[in-house]
C-alpha cells in the first residue's frame, strides 16, 4: 500500500496541472496582501462604520497577520473545493482517458487498494494545499503585517458583533481551523472520486462535483423552514465553513472573552462527525462501485 501511494504521489507530482492550484492560491493571497498593504484602512473604516462609537480600536493594530489570514480564508475556502475537484475528479477518469486504467488493473493490486490509494493521494493533495495556504495566508501575512490581537466581524441575526481574541490565543485556532477545513475539503475529494469512477474523461466529474457543491450550497442557504429543518442538517455544504467556529470565542457572564475557549464546541464536533460520515459513505459507495465495474475504456 505504501509503495502504491508513493507511485501515486509521484504521478501527481509530475503533472503540471497539480501546480495550478498552488499558483492560483499564491496569486489570490498576494493580491489580497498587496491590496491591504496599500489601502487597508479604507476597508477597516467601512467594516467599522456601525461600531466606531462603541469600540475603541486605537489600542490594537487592527490589520495584522492574523486578521489578514481570516479575511483571506473567508474568500479562499469557498474556491478551494474547485481546486480539490481538479485532482480528485481526475483520479480514475484521467487514468481511463489515458488508457492506463486497464494496465493498472492488470497488475497484482486489488481494486480496493487502488481506490484507497487514489483517495489517500487526494487527501494528501488537499492537506498540501491547505499547508500552502497556511504558509502564504498566515505566516507570510504575519511577516508582512505583524501580529496583534485579532478582530472578528460577525453578523448574528440583526446584530453586528466584533469579537476580539488575544494575540497569544489565536495560533492554535488557526491550526484547528485548517484541520477542520482539511476534513471538509476531503468530503469534496471523496465526492469527486466517486463521480470519477463513472466517467472516462476528467471534465465531467470535475464539473459535476462543482455543480453538486453549488446546488447543495444554495439548498443549505435557502432559508425555507421545511428545508432548514429536514434537509440542511444532512448536507455537507452546511458545514463547509464550520472552521469559523474556532474563532467564535466563548464569553463569561459579563460578556468578556475567555481565552482558550470556544463558544459552541458541541456544534463543531457535530459538524465534524457529519463531514466524516459523508467521507465514509462516499468512499464506501466508491469502493463498492469500482470493485464491480467492467473496464471498457
Amino acid at each position: 500500500m505504501w509503495s502504491l501511494l508513493q507511485i501515486e504521489m509521484f504521478k501527481i507530482s509530475r503533472r503540471p496541472r497539480t501546480y495550478i492550484a498552488f499558483a492560483a492560491i499564491s496569486a489570490i493571497v498576494l493580491i489580497f496582501q498587496f491590496a491591504f498593504k496599500a489601502d487597508g484602512s479604507s476597508y477597516m473604516n467601512l467594516m467599522l462604520q456601525s461600531v466606531q462609537d462603541s469600540f475603541e480600536l486605537d489600542r490594537i493594530k487592527a490589520i495584522n497577520g492574523y486578521f489578514m489570514c481570516y479575511i483571506i480564508l473567508n474568500t479562499l475556502l469557498v474556491q478551494v473545493p474547485i481546486l480539490v475537484a481538479l485532482i480528485a475528479g481526475d483520479a480514475i477518469s484521467g487514468e481511463a482517458n489515458m488508457g492506463t486504467l486497464r494496465l493498472l488493473l492488470t497488475k497484482p493490486v486489488s481494486r480496493t487498494q487502488l481506490l484507497l490509494v487514489k483517495f489517500m493521494a487526494s487527501f494528501i493533495f488537499t492537506v498540501a494545499l491547505l499547508l500552502w495556504m497556511a504558509v502564504m495566508a498566515l505566516f507570510l501575512s504575519m511577516a508582512i503585517f505583524g501580529v496583534d490581537d485579532m478582530l472578528i466581524f460577525r453578523v448574528s441575526g440583526e446584530e453586528s458583533q466584533i469579537l476580539q481574541i488575544g494575540a497569544d490565543d489565536v495560533l492554535w485556532r488557526y491550526f484547528a481551523a485548517f484541520g477542520y477545513a482539511a476534513i471538509a475539503l476531503t468530503v469534496i475529494a471523496a465526492l469527486a472520486l466517486l463521480l470519477s469512477i463513472y466517467a472516462e474523461n476528467s471534465i465531467g466529474p470535475i464539473i459535476a462535483t462543482v455543480c453538486i457543491v453549488i446546488i447543495c450550497t444554495i439548498v443549505s442557504n435557502i432559508g425555507v423552514p421545511i428545508i432548514d429543518k429536514n434537509v440542511k442538517p444532512w448536507l455537507f455544504t452546511s458545514y463547509l465553513v464550520g472552521w469559523k467556529g474556532f474563532f467564535y470565542i466563548g464569553t463569561n457572564a459579563d460578556g468578556q472573552p475567555i481565552p482558550g475557549s470556544l463558544e459552541n464546541w458541541p456544534a463543531i464536533r457535530k459538524s465534524l462527525f457529519i463531514l466524516i460520515a459523508h467521507i465514509v459513505i462516499l468512499l464506501g459507495i466508491s469502493i463498492a462501485v469500482f470493485r464491480k465495474k467492467d473496464i471498457l475504456s
Binding site: I7, L104, L105, P108, D294
Partner: protein
C-alpha cells in the same frame, strides 16, 4: 505439454446482448495461441475477462491450474499484457513508466533490470525521453517492455499490431516468435488480421458473434484442399451454369467474381475446363488460405457488399 489456461463455458451478457457466449478453449504451455475474429466478434471482451477487467456473466477461467477470480493476485503477477494500445503516462519518461509498472508488479526493481528491458526493445537510448515524444511503434515497444519486465509466464496481447507501420508489424511478429521459441513464454495473441495469426500462431480459435466456430492447430486448418478461389470471367452467369455440372457445383457469384472452395492443385484443371466451354477468363485468384477458411466459417458474413464496377 501442460494446459496453462482453461476457459469453460464463458459468457458475458450486457442486458440483452451476448458479447461472448458459452466459449470454451484451452491453451497449452509454450503455445502461441491465436485469437481470431472480426471486429466486434468478442475477442477483446474475452481477453479482458482473462485479465479480470470484465466480470464474466457465467463460466470459469483457470490459469496455471488456479481459478482466476480466487487467485487474481497470484495469476496476474505471472501474466503480462497489452490491451489494444500500449497507453502509458505521456508526461513521464520511458524509464519512469517502466519503473512505475515494475514496482506495481511487486518485483525487485533495479536500474540494471529496467535498462536491460529497454535495451531488449531498442529504447535504451531514449530512456529519459518523455513518452509523448514517441512514435506509435516506440510506444508499442515500451508497452512490450512493461508487459515483460516482471518475467511473466503468460503474455496476452490484444491486437498488438494495431496502428503499426509495416516495419513495426514485422518487429512485433519477430518479438512474439522470440518470446515463445527462445524464452519459452506462452503467448495469446488476438487479431483480426488473418495473415498475422497464420504466420505466428501454433494453435488458434476462431470466434464469430461471441461464439467459437473453430479451434485447432493452424497448419491443420490451412488445408490446401479448402482453398477459396475467385474467378472473374467475361460472363459469370454462363460460367456458373457450366460449373454446376461439375464437382465445383458449390460455386457462387460474389460481386464481380465467381467464388468456389476447391483444392488449390485443381486450379489449372478448372481453367482448362472453362476454356473448353468457351468462357473467357479474366482473372483467377486463390485467396489467402486462412482468409478463405475464415470466410467459409463465417459464411462470408461481410459488413459491406463487395464492390463491383
Amino acid at each position: 505439454m501442460n494446459v496453462l489456461l482453461e476457459v469453460n463455458h464463458l459468457t458475458k451478457q450486457y442486458r440483452d446482448i451476448k458479447a461472448v457466449e458459452d466459449l470454451s478453449f484451452s491453451v497449452m504451455e509454450g503455445d502461441i495461441y491465436g485469437f481470431l475474429g472480426q471486429n466486434g466478434a468478442g475477442k477483446s471482451t474475452t481477453i479482458r475477462m482473462l485479465l479480470t477487467l470484465i466480470s464474466p456473466t457465467a463460466g470459469e477461467i483457470k490459469i496455471f491450474g488456479l481459478p482466476l477470480h480466487e487467485n487474481r493476485h497470484e495469476i496476474l503477477s505471472q501474466t503480462g499484457s497489452i490491451i489494444e494500445r500500449p497507453d502509458l503516462y505521456q508526461y513521464l519518461t520511458a524509464y519512469e513508466n517502466l519503473s512505475l509498472f515494475a514496482r506495481m508488479s511487486k518485483i525487485k526493481v533495479s536500474r540494471k533490470l529496467l535498462m536491460n528491458q529497454l535495451e531488449m526493445v531498442g529504447l535504451a537510448e531514449r530512456s529519459q525521453s518523455k513518452v509523448r515524444t514517441f512514435s506509435q511503434g516506440m510506444k508499442q515497444r515500451l508497452g512490450i517492455a512493461v508487459a515483460l519486465v516482471h518475467d511473466p509466464k503468460l503474455i496476452i496481447l490484444d491486437e498488438p499490431t494495431n496502428g503499426l507501420d509495416p516495419q513495426g508489424i514485422a518487429d512485433m511478429r519477430n518479438l512474439i516468435l522470440r518470446l515463445s521459441r527462445q524464452m519459452g513464454k506462452t503467448v495469446i495473441v488476438s487479431s483480426h488480421l488473418l495473415s498475422e495469426i497464420e504466420v505466428i500462431a501454433s494453435r488458434m480459435i476462431v470466434i464469430h458473434k461471441g461464439k467459437k466456430i473453430a479451434e485447432g492447430v493452424v497448419q491443420e486448418m490451412l488445408d490446401p484442399a479448402n482453398t477459396l478461389v475467385q474467378v472473374e470471367t467475361a460472363n459469370n452467369m454462363n460460367a456458373l451454369k457450366w460449373l454446376q455440372e461439375t464437382r465445383w457445383a458449390t460455386a457462387v457469384i460474389q460481386g464481380r467474381h465467381l467464388q468456389l472452395s476447391m483444392n488449390r492443385e485443381d486450379i489449372p484443371q478448372l481453367i482448362r475446363y472453362l476454356g473448353e466451354k468457351g468462357t473467357d477468363i479474366v482473372a483467377v485468384q486463390p485467396r489467402h488460405s486462412l482468409e478463405a477458411y475464415f470466410l467459409s466459417l463465417t459464411n462470408n458474413d461481410t459488413h459491406v457488399e463487395p464492390f463491383a464496377n
